[in-house]
């Protein structure tokens, strides 16, 4: 059969997991990373990045809403997916996704955003008219008390939710790594480092995404970028990226030195079918280049205009690199035979349910949701709200 070199077990020729399953860890990673950035403000008191706090939370929510869609579209029987909630199989890593997802969505992210915005929601429900008023009133969930004491309670509960949210974000994405890392049949995936690598790469992609969105939204709003804020984000991005890259290299060096039975097969793949996506896109363009760029901003004193450009370029390269990493894990893990005697190819379709166009739509969809969220719950300082007498 065309596209096959050597020997594949006959059922292995066609790939089972498509570009949509590449999107799944990519999107989930953005969620976890954005939340970790928000937690820097709330838990670790990094005040410099406060301008991105709410934007990070809303970004996480927008992407989290879309996160299950690639999985859903990939299923042979999407109508049966509720069974994962009703009759989860306790030994299955995948069965826990529904619960981890719901926990993170409802108990962490939505709750924290609601607590943080509650005062504004209450005030908006009193100052707006028409459908907006109705919507904001619904969003208050009947909790209209915005007395000082009540807001202080919100603050304390919000802090606690964020505290719980940090391990939850780690669990959300570490668990995605575990789905792959625990498959002993596949040496490309099977590694206890996989969840850790996934967590760090998630932080890198999420932090870079919020940095880019912050710079984009300030430009669109025609306000000045808070350079101290982006400088601080870039610093965190740089150091976390170094940790992430070190972990990935540790995994790689271990595989190369150990050179077990799968090594020849995997080595061949990296030098041929994955050369562009792994060596060129992931390692050089998506990792070394942004680390170098960010490193330059750390050791030199460049003008703000240059730093901004560097951050934009580095942020975009990070996205390319992390997406390539997800691609190399998901697609790369299916390109070789479990017999280690042959290789197949992945042919992406265009307009099928698991094709390129759907993947592009799913990448754009969170940005549309984010735009709606930003309209509903503006994260940046806005003109003072009209004075309305507090309920208490």
């Amino acid at each position: 059969m065309s596209g096959v070199n050597g020997f594949m077990y006959p059922n292995e020729v066609a790939l089972q997991w498509s570009v949509l399953i590449v999107l799944y860890p990519y999107i989930t990673g953005l969620v976890a990373g954005a939340f970790i950035l928000a937690s820097l403000v709330r838990i670790f008191h990094v005040e410099a990045v406060r301008p991105t706090y709410r934007l990070a939370l809303l970004t996480a929510l927008a992407f989290l809403i879309v996160a299950p869609l690639p999985l859903q579209l990939h299923l042979g029987h999407p109508e049966r997916s509720p069974e994962m909630y009703f009759t989860p199989h306790s030994t299955s890593a995948m069965a826990m996704f529904g619960f981890v997802y719901l926990w993170y969505l409802m108990a962490v992210l939505v709750f924290e955003i609601w607590l943080d915005y509650r005062q504004e929601i209450v005030l908006l429900s009193q100052s707006t008219t028409g459908w907006r008023r109705l919507l904001y009133r619904l969003m208050t969930l009947g909790s209209n008390n915005i007395s000082e004491r009540s807001l202080a309670i919100d603050e304390r509960v919000g802090w606690f939710v964020t505290l719980v949210g940090i391990p939850s974000a780690f669990i959300l994405h570490g668990y995605v790594g575990f789905i792959f890392g625990s498959i002993k049949a596949n040496p490309w995936w099977n590694s206890p480092l996989m969840p850790v690598v996934f967590i760090f790469s998630a932080m890198v992609s999420g932090i870079a995404a919020v940095m880019l969105l912050y710079m984009l939204t300030t430009k669109l709003r025609k306000v000045a970028i808070d350079m101290q804020c982006v400088d601080t984000i870039a610093m965190y991005l740089f150091y976390i990226f170094i940790l992430d890259f070190s972990l990935e290299m540790l995994d790689l060096i271990h595989r190369v030195y150990e050179a077990d039975e799968s090594f020849r097969s995997l080595n061949f793949m990296v030098h041929t079918r994955l050369y562009f996506s792994q060596i060129v896109l992931q390692i050089f363009l998506g990792t070394l280049a942004p680390i170098l760029l960010l490193g330059i901003t750390q050791v030199t004193k460049l003008a703000p205009a240059i730093r901004k450009r560097i951050y934009v370029v580095a942020g975009c390269l990070v996205q390319v690199g992390i997406f390539a990493m997800r691609w190399n894990v998901v697609i790369g893990g299916q390109l070789f035979s479990k017999s280690f005697l042959g290789y197949t190819t992945y042919k992406m379709t265009l307009i099928t349910r698991e094709g390129l166009f759907v993947a592009i739509a799913l990448t754009i969809l969170p940005l549309i949701i984010l735009w709606v969220l930003l309209r509903l719950l503006p994260p940046w300082p806005h003109p003072p709200l009209p004075a309305v007498a507090p309920a208490d």
């Binding site: 020997f7 006959p10 042979g76 997916s81 989860p88 199989h89 030994t91 299955s92 498959i183 005697l341």
Partner: protein
């Protein structure tokens, strides 16, 4: 003591196999014996399986591989399985090294990774040791396909659910043997019941060099291979 199949036979002949009084799931532990020196690569088993189980073209519940292991190349054998070996194999041209056939199928592992990873438990192991898929329940997520070390599963192209060898469960519970065993002209495949003390498998295992595939995977594979070459993956 007659094997279960013999006792059930009169019920099978009478067209009422379900009334067979002797089939109790926890009295059996099914496995398969594959005698590699006996396999001639005719592909009968593949065709019989496809006909019996309506296996879609391009996918295989069982298939046959031909290994060519050249001297000093044990780690890099040349393997072919054209259309799963369904129509046999082209004549061997290289006279060096050795050639042999290896029939493959689901290993009905006692600790099967596919069962472990199924998110809704649609894949399960029966009390008599057969790994099955409840296709009315399967989500079609393909996680089990990824988890099988032997490449024995696939997503059915029209049903959109996981599909695999059932060890002809519809037959063996009625006292029959599997379609692949029945069609094998040389007896290279033998259904075996490890819980039946009179099954010839016990004597065979005692007296032959028998291996399972990928023992390092620790899956509790129950397809036993006689004279399995070290090059086989």
């Amino acid at each position: 003591m007659l094997p279960a199949a013999a006792i059930a036979w009169k019920y099978v002949l009478a067209g009422t196999p379900e009334q067979s009084p002797n089939y109790t799931t926890d009295e059996h532990w099914w496995s398969m014996l594959i005698d590699i020196p006996k396999c001639i690569g005719c592909g009968n088993c593949v065709r019989a399986c496809q006909a019996e189980n309506d296996v879609p073209d391009g996918n295989f519940r069982t298939w046959v591989e031909r290994y060519h292991v050249d001297d000093w190349k044990m780690e890099n054998p040349e393997v072919i399985s054209p259309d799963g070996g369904k129509e046999g194999f082209p004549a061997a041209t290289d006279e060096s090294g050795k050639y042999f056939f290896v029939p493959k199928m689901c290993n009905h592992c006692a600790d099967s990774p596919c069962t472990q990873v199924c998110p809704v438990g649609a894949t399960f192991i029966t009390p008599d040791g057969v790994v099955l898929v409840d296709q009315t329940y399967c989500l079609g997520c393909a996680y089990c396909v990824q988890a099988c070390p032997y490449g024995c599963r696939y997503i059915h192209p029209t049903k959109k659910v996981a599909d695999k060898c059932t060890l002809c469960y519809h037959r063996i519970t009625k006292g029959l043997t599997t379609a692949c065993c029945e069609s094998c002209p040389t007896g290279a495949r033998q259904l075996a019941d490890l819980k039946n003390p009179n099954d010839p498998i016990h004597e065979f295992l005692k007296t032959h060099e028998v291996q399972i595939l990928k023992p390092q995977m620790a899956t509790g594979a129950k397809v036993f291979y006689n004279e399995l070459d070290g090059s086989v993956r």
